[in-house]
């Protein structure tokens, strides 16, 4: 209430009001045992009365510390990363840090700008989920050598940064083995860009499983597309241009799988019935799709918390070799991988 123009109330104002020195007020703020109980009470009264709010920026300046962590995300509109961001923020907040958000929209140049701008706010550390086409050396330049950086999800060779990622290779192998076990032999790998590290790794896992089963993949079973529903739906046809056509597909991720299901439906194939497929990520809508999607659960929210924890640990125990953390993923079997032509009953099986 009252004069909206008035300048902020500071430690000095409180000191004056409570007739103590600025230093004492500062001690009260930080719960120092040095200050007498009566004094503390008096000071605290005045703080409340004047509506004091701590200026952490000033404190950080003096103490040469930082109370923020920058979070740079390639695609916030992807639920996987949104959940990840929520997890990061949750854990950082619990540790008393504030999250500086920066979205890059998959643009490497915006990523540079965002990093530059965030660095000016002196984050204690950076968590980066790199945009496509990121250049490690330019990132290194923007970030400098003194701010710890944790790279998430997409490998970025070069500098000594910490890394947190999924076990893409094993995940894709599990999915492929699952489809093999259902009797499929002609299995495609659908979606993703082969120049992204996660896509490469997933393709390796796919190849591992096929090789172990003695299956040689046809080149037309490897279809690239941007990892979005729309792109995937549009690329569906590429699977069926040349014999032998696949009867199943391991998809790069859930978005792609959902798009593929749509594309299949449009050409009159019933996913999970005429054609089996799997996803990757286990985003929430995968449990809800028709049919529900078999996929690999990565629990992005937990990954977010984990990323925050890694970064906080690095801040505590400062330097040391950079750390690669690869988290296992779990195969979640649902109906989309149900059967081939030789398949199982379409309905029933309510509970899971």
């Amino acid at each position: 209430m009252s004069d909206s123009r008035r300048r902020r109330v500071t430690l000095n104002d409180i000191a004056e009001a409570a007739r103590v020195s600025r230093a004492t007020v500062s001690l009260v703020l930080r719960d120092s045992p040095l200050v007498h109980a009566d004094t503390r009470a008096r000071v605290e009264t005045h703080m409340r009365k004047l509506g004091y709010v701590y200026n952490r920026a000033a404190a950080n300046l003096r103490r040469q510390t930082s109370s923020s962590v920058a979070l740079v995300i390639n695609d916030l509109s992807n639920p996987f990363f949104a959940e990840f961001a929520a997890g990061v923020d949750e854990a950082l907040a619990a540790a008393g840090y504030v999250t500086l958000l920066g979205g890059t929209g998959e643009s490497a140049s915006r990523q540079q700008a965002v990093l530059g701008s965030l660095m000016e706010h002196q984050p204690a550390a950076i968590i980066l989920s790199p945009a496509e086409g990121s250049d490690a050396s330019r990132i290194a330049h923007a970030v400098g050598a003194h701010t710890p950086l944790l790279v998430f999800n997409r490998e970025l060779e070069g500098a000594g940064w910490d890394f947190l990622g999924l076990d893409n290779r094993r995940g894709a192998r599990l999915a492929t083995e699952h489809l093999l076990k259902q009797g499929h032999r002609r299995i495609a790998f659908f979606g993703g860009h082969a120049d992204s590290s996660s896509c490469r790794e997933r393709r390796l896992g796919y190849g591992d499983a096929l090789a172990a089963a003695g299956v040689t993949p046809e080149p037309q079973w490897l279809v690239e597309c941007a990892p979005t529903r729309l792109e995937a739906a549009a690329q569906t046809g590429a699977l069926f241009v040349r014999d032998p056509v696949p009867t199943a597909a391991v998809c790069y991720n859930d978005a792609v799988a959902l798009g593929l299901m749509l594309g299949l439906a449009r050409r009159g194939r019933r996913p999970g019935h005429d054609f089996a497929l799997t996803g990757f990520d286990d985003i929430p809508e995968s449990a809800m799709s028709v049919p529900p999607l078999t996929t690999l659960a990565a629990d992005p929210r937990a990954r977010g918390r984990q990323a925050a924890a890694l970064v906080l640990a690095r801040l505590k125990h400062a330097p040391g070799a950079h750390k690669r953390t690869i988290v296992p993923v779990q195969l979640v079997v649902r109906e989309s991988s149900g059967g081939a032509d030789t398949a199982a009953p379409p309905s029933a099986r309510k509970r899971r």
Copy 2:
């Protein structure tokens, strides 16, 4: 590279290296025409050489300004809000501000904590999408009278804050009228909590349309549930416990509608065929569901940009009456509202 322990390089270091005063370097930083071209060049060289990075916190302290805006979001894992956040961040970044993120997970008490923590970082303004059960006076206390606040999406009576929201009432009326036009008379309103402002407004619009058509809604056509897919699927049965049962439903939002579609499928009803329904928000998966969902487009990303713009405008032209902005929503007709028992062909109709 080199000694990772070395302290940050500051204006003083540059000044010393370039043999000018700190003041001159500061002028160079801000592109002042006062400084001689030669001097400028020399200073800039040394800035690059030493790897200088601007300390915006120190500058803000001195100038009594802020270069950040706090964004407090009730539910980041809802794509609607994730998109909103992306839009806010995009527009803020373009204006040279940085986004301080705070997630509340729909908890009013966490919201208080988050607001308190963010305030300590002196944001220039706050954009708040309130958690359920928010208390306006406690928020007012946490935020203080000097930081402009924009409330998004859920009305919060009380203090003089700016507000940005959707035209919920008209949106729901449009959806209801659309279903009436398809021949439905027994139309339910499904989902949401009646104590949230947006749900109340949508119910009003629903009531407007029914009243205009001379239909009196049965009490069992009003079903509450939390606005998540899971809850909605679980509550589906509530629509069919007592005659007359509805043949269509206006859903509180897309998440609820998608959940209801699942619930319907489980009881053997084909949404868009045996039962018509509409959503609200037009989240990306609504276009992709089977059948695609008729809904009201709110373009959350554009809303985010708009919220940022409103807040920036408020910062420029400082005080003035608080402003209510209600944005229209657009009915997007897809197949989920296709027909009743007397319905249309289920397939074909590829292009839209």
